[in-house]
């Protein structure tokens, strides 16, 4: 099977400008979309589509890149159970507690039948949005820091040190990505 990076005409590297990935995808998509070829054949496009979804976000991209650089051992992320980095355990607990609060609050809000009952909850809702916002800002900072480290490892790529460093980073991106997603979702649900 053709390499995802090659399919999009990109260099097989850890770092990539989001704009460049998108441009590469759009270029390839315009050429092989079933409408452009007018043969109704989806196969090639779905491959390009899969390549783009995989390479777009750092966590999935690193996982793919690392797996393809040591094919004999398979997918390292799949092989070893993922542990939360030790220095993030407290943060994880904090996020989990926050999530739980939001979930039980949303249940209460969902049960409210009248505009007035919802309005009575608006104070609590605003307070929760603020707390989620603070957490989200912290995660954004950590994400930016991870991106910075990704650029650094990219300069050391390819090499054993880089592989080891990127494996750690892959897990961090994975967790951060998921937590940011959860918080984003919580904020939307608290807003609507």
């Amino acid at each position: 099977m053709e390499n995802y990076f090659e399919m999009l005409g990109l260099a097989s590297r850890p770092w990539m400008e989001p704009e460049d990935i998108k441009k590469a995808f759009l270029r390839a998509a315009a050429l092989c979309h079933p409408d452009a070829k007018r043969n109704g054949e989806n196969g090639q496009f779905t491959q390009i589509n899969l390549a783009y979804t995989t390479l777009r976000e750092p966590a999935a991209r690193l996982r793919y890149l690392l797996a393809h650089n040591r094919p004999e051992e398979g997918d390292p992320a799949a092989a070893s159970p993922e542990r939360i980095p030790a220095r993030w355990v407290d943060l994880f607990m904090e996020i989990a507690a926050q999530q739980q609060q939001v979930t039980s609050f949303l249940k209460k809000k969902e049960l409210a039948r009248s505009a007035l009952a919802v309005a009575l909850l608006s104070g609590e809702s605003a307070e929760m949005r603020r707390a989620c916002g603070v957490l989200a800002a912290r995660l954004d900072e950590m994400w930016a820091d991870c991106l910075e480290r990704l650029r650094e490892w990219d300069r050391a790529w390819p090499g054993d040190a880089a592989v080891a460093g990127l494996e750690v980073l892959q897990r961090e991106f994975n967790y951060l990505g998921r937590w940011r997603e959860q918080l984003r979702e919580a904020l939307v649900l608290l807003t609507v």
Partner: protein
Amino acid sequence: MSPIVGIDLGTTNSLIGVMEAGFPILLAGSDGERLTPSVVHFPAQGDPVVGHAALRMRVLEPAATVYSAKRFIGRRVGEETAPTGFALTGAEGTPVRFEVRGKPYPPEAISAKVLAKLRADAERALQCEVTRAVITVPAYFNDAQRNATKAAGELAGFTVERIVNEPTAAALAYGLNHLRDHARVAVFDLGGGTFDISILELHGGVFQVLATHGDTRLGGDDVDEALVGLLSEKLEALAQTHGHEPGQSSQPALRARLREAAVDAKHRLSSETVCSVELPFLLGNDSLVYRLERSELERLARPILERTRAHCIRVLADARLSAADLDEVILVGGATRMPLVRAMVEGIFGRTPNISQNPDEAVALGATLQAGILSGAVQNVVLLDVTPLSLGIETCGGVMNVIIPRNSTIPIKAGEMFTNAVAGQRVMRISVLQGEREMARDNWRLGEFELEFEAAPKGKARVGVQFEIDANGILQVLARDTGTGSQKVVEMASAVDVSDEAVEKMLEDSLEHAFEDVNARVFTEAKLKAEELLPAVRNALALVGDALDEAEKALITQRVSEVEQAVRDGASQALQRANRALDDATQRLATLLVERAMQGGKTG
């Protein structure tokens, strides 16, 4: 070869177009009008009548005139509760059927009649056979609704070359004049029965949908219905003053007249601030005349239209954008002519909406352009659309396991490997779901299929299943035989395709008891609401009651006692009305509470 036509199959009106000399042209019917009402009338004798002629018959014979079929297409009974002048039949959970003159019709058969009329009009205008079509659907339509729309096209004698999303089509119509630009636009599409909000990026000729959201049960129809409710009250008052029987407003013929007057008034109030609703000789010699102000229409419409807000917030979050990142917010769909809609869109997105597109025609023009892309008449333009709903399967414990997340670019394929859970297991049933809820039961069940395993020890038999969503947004499931590597299409038993006999039997079982059940349910629901509302009012008064003047407080006290009385009487309709009145009376109280929360005060 037949030309490919583009069709906007709307809840209220439909249009058809074709590419001519590189431009999309909309075709007029034999009556000279491009808009064809999506209405089908069944006369006592002779063939069904479609379009304007059918619309005129709706007031005369409401029970034999079907409209808004799109609200019911691909749906099961119980999902769609919009009131209609014609009869709906079917047990809860079975496919919807309309009953006209004693015969059941599935919604797609009605849509097919509308499509066939458009096809005949096009053939007359183009003087050639027309057998290929692109048909639009609301972006938020699920797999069953898309399949049913495609089936309607086929029933009308078309090969359906593509199902395209309405807001995407509208973006195409808008974007064709901006092909050199790079722009981010939102398309706010509020039609007769459905609402979509899509965000797209235009990169030269590539139109990429970033995210879409919507509600397939929200549209101008709902505003009409609210207005009919108001006019019904006026009718009942008129009946009382002149000594007619009460309950006049539930008569289909009168209701159809009220509906016609409501629609007309709504249209006029888009440009005027006040209009006179006149229904001469509505009850014998007594006429209904009512002075309707735009502000009163807006008071009725606001809670309905307010429902678009959550979808707009959601779609921005899914596209990872804020409102300020957008270059334009384009309005399409007839209901966006309402000044209130425009004001709300401006409030949500913080910018004056773009009204450059003809709200009725943009979608049909876009569908025609997509037809042009498929025929080769339009070059170097490609639409990259998305699937609106997450696709998944039910896992043990009743949880939905997402296989293709919402807003994934289509066409897309995703593979999943299934293994036997116990030794020697030969079959596995797989439930396919669409929706965003965590629990399988809260999502739409698309259907089920069975996988066959080789006899093998636990975990050793494997079958790979490929889920493919094509460019129409329609799912196909392929099972790969691990031995031969050959793929075979898995037939899904769709939950909407129950056989006709089964349907008729379920029908007979359920029809008679429907009324009592509904009444009991309405009361329980209304009582629960009252039980919540009463303490909420007490709380709110304690917190922010000081800000109200005496008259406001007195009104609330009176409304509270009306609710309490209705609960004691056990009268469901009265309780619903009383609840609504108390809701209205406490609106300012709710606003005060929210303002207080915004300022950081605690409200408990």
